[in-house]
Symmetry: C2
DNA sequence: TTAATTAATCGTAATATTGCAATATAATTA
DNA sequence: TAATTATATTGCAATATTACGATTAATTAA
């Protein structure tokens, strides 16, 4: 079919998947890194730093924003993007839960 | 175009994106959780637990395996899947780096 | 008001993903 | 060997993603 069966999974699983999907692209990882290091936070600068066209970057920013991971503040004619601290912390926590639940070799293999 | 421009990103960014993409699906998150909790580790059991058809689960397992996150051990007629400890630890480390690089509110916004 | 600057949206082409029925492959058992 | 059991592969339809040119909106400056 081509559409994920979200109804058979928990809200937590679906939310984590959506936020991970938002990060799971090299351009968006690079974007987050640039934003975090404050090397660039407006679309045009990010476009230049990344080497991707402005509409492409705008689209990537939109996805990160839709996932709640960044927020945009209008500053005159441009928009300054930065990390949304709560969502960032929550995602970090969810991932820590997932990764720490693995305690090493288990019974079956 | 529809194809990611991997050549303009670092190997680290591309690898992290690939591994995150492997996890960024509720069925694969659920699969990892089942494997970790050792509630199911063979394709047929996972298929029953997840409520997805066997070929669908087999495909998801293949993607997790291609990303290096799980390994399969042939046990008679079936295959037991479990976490690949090194890759799991590495991904955890990479994510920790990314998340901890954010120190809170920065200058621009 | 007009021009300049910047971001967002639209439209589109190329490609990738999701899910499953049907089938093929591989290993064990009778 | 033949039947059984379990996984993997193939093929396909529906949908989603990626990238960007062209355009539109929104804000500031002249």
């Amino acid at each position: 079919m081509g559409i994920t069966k979200t109804e058979i999974f928990t809200d937590e699983q679906n939310k984590l998947a959506l936020q991970l999907k938002a990060i799971a692209h090299p351009a968006r990882i690079a974007t987050l890194q640039l934003i975090i290091e404050a090397k660039a936070c407006i679309c045009g600068d990010l476009s230049a730093e990344l080497g991707l066209a402005q509409p492409t970057v705008s689209q990537h920013l939109k996805e990160l924003k839709n996932a709640g991971l960044i927020q945009g503040t209008i500053e005159g004619v441009s928009v300054c993007y930065c990390i949304e601290p709560e969502a960032w912390k929550n995602l970090n926590n969810e991932l820590n839960k997932l990764f720490s639940s693995y305690k090493g070799i288990n019974s079956c293999c």
